[in-house]
Amino acid sequence: MHSSRHRLNFEEHRILFDPIQNPRRGISIFMGILLAITAWGGFCYILQWRYGLGASGLNQPVLWGFYITNFVFFIGISHAGTLISAILRMAKAEWRRPITRMAEVITVAVLYIGAANIIFDLGRPERAFFLFLYGRYQSPLLWDASSITAYLTASSVFLYLPLIPDIAILRDRFADRKWLHRFYQVFSFGWDGSPRQQKVLNIGITIMSVVVIPIAVSVHTVISYIFSMTLQPMWHSTIFGPYFVCGAIFSGIAALIVMMVVLRKIYHLEPYLKPIHFNYLGILLLVMSLLWFYFTFSEYLTGFFGHEPTEMRVFWSKVTGTYAPYFWTMVFFNFVVPVLILSFRRMRTIGGVLVASISVLAGMWLERFTIIVPTLANPRLPFPSGIYFPTWIEWGLMLGSFSFFVFLYLLFSRFFPIISIWEIEEGREVGLEEVEERIRSYLPETAGTFNSREKERST
């Protein structure tokens, strides 16, 4: 990465600089709309704050609803990012190069929103700082707090490190934009692409890729602990940790695909994001869908076969009772749709993968919902079981959460390239040779000799 190439890059990767250089009006307006929806969410929250949590549809047995569902869902999506990009980096999957950045941004943006949803759910949000003053490490909620903090820190670092060379590129590119330039100056750490710098950065990225995977796994495991550490029917289950992690990766990939399709469209990233990427991600999604089904199946079969009455009350309320529509829609969205679409090469087109992903996102949200609500609605003791209907305030906050997430994402794309330029370059320069080298190393060394022996025999 020598400075001579930078100039070349500017031209070649012009589309990547466009959102920063000449932001399109349409996108700005769209961001404005998103901000307005977010503000509406904020208004809903103010109402809830003034009126008490009673503004939501929560009630006595069903004391957690949309907010906790969203919390789990968003934290789940956060796995898109960091985990996928780390795993792909570790696996040296070359097709990762245009995807990693997008994935990592999702993680960071979504974590804030997940954490915010926990605040929405508090009866006394102004007392949230008690967690710091009087926190109690025995509570799984504190495990959550620390693991989410760790994950947020790690994934921010993980997002930041590969960003450094690109910031340097931007610094050079936007030398004429006063504050932008200074901003890039500070954050590029004086990157100039010297071999020593590259080595340091590569070590940093590699270490982070290793570290971030267990952290990510732990985060969602710990979130599942919120439920599985209680004694409630269909929560108190050992499978919950891996089940949640699997679901998280599943929904993460789906979110990533949706984001990729959207950005590809609005920022014209077709040269970078090719059908092959979607094809690969589609396969990954298919694998996760099967894995998810396996976990779901094990979870429910264990409950069903044991036939413990309290467990069964929840079970039947999901399978045939009040929550059956949600449950079966979830199965349809999470398993039937993606498997049907993604199993066939011909349907693994961008459109097909997008449909499957959207379906998975909806399905996974429903999954979180059907895990949380039916158990609460059917407590162990015969108790007037509750029905939960979210109020418009909850819907408002949910919409606000989603639009704020998209807003944050677009905001990021206004200041940083959404595809890692230097990694693409690196792929060109180093990757090709390296892959060839690597593939050669996979194969029997006698390949050449074998051929010559064949030749010899023929002669």
Partner: protein
Amino acid sequence: MTNQCSWGEGKIFFWQVVVLVTFYVFIFGVVIWILRLIWLSWQLKDVFSGSIGISLVAIPLFLFLLGVYNYVFWGILLSRKRSGQGRKD
């Protein structure tokens, strides 16, 4: 430094250190928080061992993250100096 929009080395370095210090403060804040939790559980005889167990993972992890950041930060800054002014424009 031909560009008049640019800040001087010192100013840039100042802000970079500010960022770094913020990160330090954050990480040590977290560590102090965790220590506070342990202290509370000790005071209140509330599964002290468990808290220690969790913090045995958590504190080193945060310090490790700090270490990685620190390493990259100084690594990049210092190797630039050692390799001289890489940038020509």
